[in-house]
Symmetry: C2
Amino acid sequence: MKIVDGGVCAVNGVLAAGACDDDYGVAVIVCKDSDSTAVFTSNKIVAAPVILTKNAVENGKLSAVVANSGNANCFTGDQGIEDGKAMASVVAEELDFKFEDVAVASTGVIGRLMPMDIIGSLIKKAVLRLENSAEASKNAAEAIMTTDTYSKEFAVETTLKNGKSIRIGGITKGSGMIAPNMGTMLCFITTDVKASSSELNTALKKAVDASFNMVVVDGDESTNDTVILMANGESGESIDENFEEALEYVCCQLASMMAKDGEGATKFMEVEVNGAVNTEEARLAAKAVVSSSLVKTALFGADPNWGRIVAAVGYSGADIDPKVVSVSLQSLNKRVDIVDHGIIAAFEGTSQLEEAEDIMEEKNIRIIIDLGLGNGNATAYGCDLSYDYVSINAEYTT
Amino acid sequence: MKIVDGGVCAVNGVLAAGACDDDYGVAVIVCKDSDSTAVFTSNKIVAAPVILTKNAVENGKLSAVVANSGNANCFTGDQGIEDGKAMASVVAEELDFKFEDVAVASTGVIGRLMPMDIIGSLIKKAVLRLENSAEASKNAAEAIMTTDTYSKEFAVETTLKNGKSIRIGGITKGSGMIAPNMGTMLCFITTDVKASSSELNTALKKAVDASFNMVVVDGDESTNDTVILMANGESGESIDENFEEALEYVCCQLASMMAKDGEGATKFMEVEVNGAVNTEEARLAAKAVVSSSLVKTALFGADPNWGRIVAAVGYSGADIDPKVVSVSLQSLNKRVDIVDHGIIAAFEGTSQLEEAEDIMEEKNIRIIIDLGLGNGNATAYGCDLSYDYVSINAEYTT
């Protein structure tokens, strides 16, 4: 597997474009006649585009996605549905696609009607710019940014078991309302494999569970989350396990980017839980630690207050026995054991505590917890809780 | 029911005292030969004093509680158990109580051994100061403070159905690691009713469910939470429904004080959910809203971003139908409907949105959500998420 440039346009035959004004952005991605699938928010309040895109992918086919930032088109009633349909219609008409082959996605403020004159003209502008290039993918990724500080793309080329190469490319946006079961996140992934919608769905669900469902910025689950996977079959190759592995890798990379660019984040944390009773409990434990406000503020303050880590595992619902638990901290160059099989190694005055303090000063911190009870493993991705998170969110709509 | 002074000492026969140095505090409360009960954290990592106090109340009898701040005595192994026992022993010996009639509680940093020389001498100092006075209760309440900015006491006198008066008094401490199922909170309640331990347990669990289990500061559930209820029978009166109601009222008042004094809090919110399918769903919805980082930062920024309120209910697990939901904001003097049976009333440019902005500027804000689906009601208590929360917790141990 090798990393390649080009985001969604790393895949042959995919076109992309973005168009923005000061308040709104529109991205269009064309992946013609693709077998497609999607995964959505589990929030019971869902935005109009989620309802529409659920319908659109039901027959397993898509040719394009149109997405806007600046307005979530959520809690907007019948008018919201009409506006979402209008977005898809513009793309369908301009490109001569069937209306039901165009997916829609939105991100932004909840409870405001869409400014359809602006959005409509941005869509038309984007359609005119469609092309297969790294720049086009980047423009699309930029157009769907809200409080993101940089655009997020990732693509790989991987070799299938039969020796043939295929590609997977994706763009995504964060960066607030990010919780397990996806935050306000939109992610569009393209690939040139040949696969049925249901094969793609199995692979996507598995990849999303290990990636986007393991990212926490603030624990608020959005009303608009959407991950779409479109396979145009250009390579002529069918999917196999190598494809699934590469898809999970792409999703994990995009998920890490979201965590790193979490609202106000100054630090990135990966929390690895090993030795849980099973995978589900490992995930519960890892997510509790990345979600903990007290762990997040300790990270921000470079404070090796490991008691908060253990306490978070304790309330996660996962089984834990204090007598066998181990906790380590790791940065790029260092690793230190804080608790070793229930015995505290990093007491006050020890070199271990000093090393722990050094690691907590780093930008990228890995917290490794071994519960010592079984074979369940999981990794969750998160960031610190900073003054800037408060400031960004205290003044978002006004 | 009338509010009275004196905290735990509002109850006849109760003695209290506090003793502090710069880093640690000790409170002793004596409620001799009391029928007693207690409720504890559900965190799977529990501190030594929780283990000891569970044993102590098992026979339904207590004569005293000794509590310290500055060290949680958690993740301290066998030595922690010995230290907790030593705390109880000092009180038992000095006051000639049975060792097993003394409950222990601790709050502070996790994973450090107790400084038993200091704690031991503070206990002896406190025991010498024991008396039945409002000042003594206040001293005890002050001694268990950690990041609290003021001490928390509340007491009432209520009339039973037979016309006789009884009293209930309590002290508590917050103010971080406060989550549903109790945060780092200690609460000691005294009363002069006559009741069995199991009657008290039923009443206490009901009161805690409606009060301390509905408070969220940061969603981190502590390893040390303990609520103890001691009834010395001085009034000679048995409990009835009026007692239960008064106990719930005292617990709700103490819970509100914790939320108001949440770490870094500049504002207090009550979230009232009506019309849920049942009480359990009403509680889920109310707790999701007070827990939401995005609602909390909107409160801090006085931003009437009601979409975040609706989104939080949406992911709470409670049933919600956007077509029938209503949301209102209320301050002391004002109330404004934001969403009325699914129709947005507070659009941009409306007087409703202006009023909503005015209300969000207030110190005490009530968010009222009617789900329009059933008869389930609940109220949760919380606070905003401010720069100071981050600063307090970024630099707690170091």
